[in-house]
Symmetry: D2
Subunit: 141 residues, 4 copies
Amino acid sequence: MKETSLLEQLQIGTFHCAGQAFQSTMRLSSFHAQPFGFVNGGVYLAYGEALAGMASNAILAQETKPSSECGIGSESTKQRIAVGQSITANHVKPKRCEGYVVARGQLLHKGGRNHVWIINIFDEEDRLLSHMTVTNSIVNV
Amino acid sequence: MKETSLLEQLQIGTFHCAGQAFQSTMRLSSFHAQPFGFVNGGVYLAYGEALAGMASNAILAQETKPSSECGIGSESTKQRIAVGQSITANHVKPKRCEGYVVARGQLLHKGGRNHVWIINIFDEEDRLLSHMTVTNSIVNV
Amino acid sequence: MKETSLLEQLQIGTFHCAGQAFQSTMRLSSFHAQPFGFVNGGVYLAYGEALAGMASNAILAQETKPSSECGIGSESTKQRIAVGQSITANHVKPKRCEGYVVARGQLLHKGGRNHVWIINIFDEEDRLLSHMTVTNSIVNV
Amino acid sequence: MKETSLLEQLQIGTFHCAGQAFQSTMRLSSFHAQPFGFVNGGVYLAYGEALAGMASNAILAQETKPSSECGIGSESTKQRIAVGQSITANHVKPKRCEGYVVARGQLLHKGGRNHVWIINIFDEEDRLLSHMTVTNSIVNV
């Protein structure tokens, strides 16, 4: 039996990425709770780092698209991906583990070697729950 | 059916806390992997924040133990717990998602309102994988 | 001869604080330069931490104003001040050490014991130079 | 009249770098004080970021030394320097602005593109004052 991964169990619901910003929602279940019934702070960290990676990889995929129809595409063999390098988070407000949360991210810095994302996580009434800065390293694979 | 929580699924194996330091081990399974087969960085974050909370709560429980045999224990009604407030992490080295990791923590600052922990996570051969600083807020409940 | 302090030598030009936000400007001189002629990253850190402290203290001063005309003001003997506790900064873009910089801050979290500020520093053309999160501890003196 | 820079006015006294560690001392004067007579937290930030840069550049200079006497030295035309990228600091303990402080740094991660330093600043009696993590970006100039 294949165990499902942390990433799958977070059950990220929606993820929309446009330009240098993204928005996502995640429905909360008992997976996300700590023993007292609030959202586990580690959930926000794992969620935020996952979103930053998805958003950076979406940007990189966009940039490396073949730009002509000639089909030679020699550059497509070299793929760049984003790897989480550092994160700083401030948990601002506890939330009972029910309903859902909304994450909004903005690309603070887009360098050739690093992407820095600001991510805010809100509750259903748009109150800030956690604020984080995620730096991704861009590596060739 | 009760879903198991993130905290349970991390499957923290051992946790020893002595004075102002702790050590813990965690065996890796497919739960901890990202799609490319390495350990998901979010796992280290969730693990580190969980350990810091456990260690702070162990210290607080020690401090609020009834200090006399008279059994009145009036102070025991006021409980102090640690709540994760902020975290900063640097992921240093990727690890294939197999074997186990070891975490070692040290209390950097023990104030009345905050505990600051330094936590390093190592692989089986004692190579540093991730370094983090976790600040817990101490609150009365 | 009294040496002038770091805070004085930064030569913070303007500082306007309204509600939970502030704006400030600082003119650059050779004091702010590193050896290659760019702004020293430490300048942004010292500037940001100073502004966060000024802004938190402005809020605290507002809150502890005598609220009645009776003039007894017994609470005014207990003063609360903001003390820098932690800072995280990402330097985004180098700037030649000339002209001026603009800082804009927003209060991310206002608790009884902590204020968390997000501060962005921009150049004359509104390009982001450095992004930081400053947490102040609120203490009674 | 040439104004002296922040870096000069910090008056870093000693700096010894060996392998992947360094130690430094800095004597305190009124330059380093905030209005209440304690050390300005911004001083620790500027000091720590400066030391991390000095230590990374010492390592890079060591690595790019001409390795033979033949004098061709074609690589020496390409110079790599360290540029401060991000910093996280926790101020642990206030100190009256007198005497001196000691900083000790250790290289946490040495990649081709980044150096991550852990720096602790202590008072004369070896009590921790501030703990920080500085990430330098290694760039070609």
